[in-house]
């Protein structure tokens, strides 16, 4: 949030300045929430359900969510499937290469807490949140397209309540 994030500080002492910042926040958040481009990133079975959600019957495009192949142009990382130890550093790199504001939706039991592979498996990471910060968890194995869409709607509500300073420069990048 280049200069805009400093706006609320100046606007405080201007009478009626708070109104301007909240209006601006709402406009920015509305534009971000209604065009969450997700990164094409299928790990396992949930990727097939994500494909069906992206296809004509359940149609992600109604939410303005188009799949982008590269992390540079995507705002949302849909982690669909089982994360293994060999894939973990790659996911961390991909997450860093996305430009902020960026969000993560962990789809399915495997991405949330290891799912059916929690016990007895030597190579599964028990949850994606051990690697990258996750905003929304969608339960199910694989979750139905409707529950994936409900997860995305919850994410849109979360994006709409963000403040201008949330993404400002002085927050130390982890």
């Amino acid at each position: 949030m280049g200069i805009v994030s400093k706006l609320p500080v100046y606007m405080e002492n201007v009478p009626g300045g708070g109104l301007v910042t909240t209006r601006l926040e709402q406009v920015l958040n509305w534009s971000r929430a209604s065009s969450l481009w997700y990164m094409l990133f299928g790990l396992a079975c949930c990727a097939i359900e994500m494909m069906c959600t992206g296809a004509s019957r359940f149609d992600f495009d109604r939410f303005g969510m188009i799949y982008r192949a590269s992390p540079r142009q995507s705002d949302l990382m849909l982690v669909t499937g089982t994360l293994t130890h060999k894939m973990a550093p790659r996911i961390k790199l991909l997450y860093d290469q996305m430009s902020s504001p960026k969000y993560v939706l962990a789809m399915g039991g495997c991405a949330t807490r290891g799912g059916p592979f929690y016990y007895d498996s030597y190579s599964v990471v028990k949850g994606v949140d051990l690697i990258i910060p996750v905003d929304i968890y969608v339960p199910g194995c694989p979750p139905r397209p409707e529950s994936l869409m409900e997860g995305c709607m919850k994410l849109m509500e979360k994006v709409k309540q963000e403040k201008l300073v949330d993404w400002s420069r002085d927050v130390k990048p982890e």
Binding site: I48, C52, R90, F117
Partner: protein, 384 residues
């Protein structure tokens, strides 16, 4: 420089061999996150310009250690895990595992159970070939097959949801038979789908099969010769496209496939187009098998009685099932306790990706995408 030819281009490798410009190679990762690797497979390509000189597959990004997990699970608890072994054809995985356990424990599956298994696996084969059509078209740049394929797959997924309650991982085939009987009116809906679907396959054929762009992109691209296919133990449509008439449903019969008559489509010279056309024809065969299964469905119960404390005698057995991608094998070793001591799973895509470096030298990277898509290999059966 001889004046007659300005640049002498070596046809095979595409590099200019005259002394003036020796070209250097560079390495590119067609890596884990790539739209056309259908999952997380990494191909480390040594490139010269746009021609691939050498391809080195790296797998293991989806290695979930299913075999280690199954060594600590009771026999009935393994069937849901089996669906995750190959999630596009999970009926066949369940059948593969139950077939092995039934052979070891001599469990007799009733007639209706066998018919339901054939019916559901053939429907699942159509759904899996539709996903192949979708991703194959998308990789070659045609978006319409993607939308058509997934739209028609939703009909089949509704049928599965009715019988097993799940869209993708059904856990429907259990030891001794199937989980539930068909719901009321399932036969009518299934026949209605088949009547709707057969002309739709002709639409797909009009869209792609004789499309000149599609032909130049796929005709004799990535030829897998007969002996190479056999040497790498390729299976299923990839083997049949190379001209070898080998289908487990006919040559190593299991279940009640001998009661159905269907013919096995094969290709001639094993290129990408043959692998595509073999799958399209297989969809038609599966439709006729589904119709025969519905019409000949016998009465009676659908599952043999299996006690919850099920303990098969000590023994071992290797069973093979014809899945959409090829021959799936399960080697089950039991030592009399209620847990298998070893469950080795073999997927067909494992061998297809092993054979990829043999085809790669000299092709363009766009052809590599087409070849990889024509193998229709997905990562769970490679990494297990």
């Amino acid at each position: 420089m001889d004046d007659e030819k300005y640049i002498e281009i070596d046809p095979v490798t595409g590099t200019s061999s005259d002394s003036g410009f020796p070209t250097e190679e560079f390495m590119v990762n067609m890596g884990p996150q790539h739209p056309s690797t259908h999952g997380v497979c990494r191909l480390l390509l040594t490139m010269d310009g746009e021609n691939v000189k050498h391809c080195q597959p790296h797998i293991g990004y989806l290695h979930r250690a299913i075999e280690k997990i199954c060594e600590n699970r009771k026999y009935q608890m393994i069937t849901p895990l089996m669906d995750r072994f190959e999630y596009l054809m999970s009926m066949a995985c369940g059948w593969l595992y139950c077939l092995g356990v039934e052979r070891i424990a001599e469990v007799e599956v009733p007639e209706r159970g066998e018919y339901l298994r054939v019916l559901m696996t053939e429907l699942n084969r159509i759904a899996s070939h539709l996903i192949f059509l979708a991703t194959f078209g998308l990789d070659l740049g045609a978006v319409t097959p993607f939308l058509y394929g997934l739209r028609d797959r939703e009909y089949i997924v509704d049928l599965f949801e009715e019988t097993s309650g799940q869209r993708l991982l059904y856990n429907y085939i259990r030891i001794g038979g199937v989980a539930k009987d068909l719901s009321v009116g399932f036969e009518k809906k299934c026949l209605k789908f088949i009547d709707y679907f057969l002309p739709i396959i002709d639409d797909y054929e009009d869209l792609l099969t004789n499309n000149p762009i599609f032909l130049t992109r796929t005709k004799n691209v990535g030829v897998l010769s007969r002996d190479l296919a056999l040497d790498y133990a390729a299976a299923g449509p990839v083997l049949r496209a190379s001209g070898i008439k080998w289908d487990l449903r006919r040559d190593d019969p299991y279940g009640c496939y001998d009661k159905f008559d269907f013919e096995i489509p094969t290709g001639e010279n094993g290129d990408t187009w043959d692998r595509y056309i073999v799958r399209i024809r297989e969809m038609r065969e599966s439709c006729s098998i589904v119709r025969q299964a519905i019409e000949g469905l016998p009465e009676g119960d659908f599952k043999a009685k299996v006690k919850p404390s099920f303990k098969p005698p000590a023994g071992e057995c290797y069973t093979r099932v014809e899945s959409a991608r090829g021959e799936m094998g399960a080697y089950i070793v039991s030592d009399g306790t209620n847990k298998p001591t070893r469950l080795k799973l073999r997927g067909a895509s494992y061998n297809h990706i092993m054979a990829l470096p043999e085809i790669c030298p000299g092709i363009k990277i766009a052809d590599l995408v087409a070849i990889f898509a024509s193998f229709d290999s997905i990562m769970p059966e490679v990494d297990r």
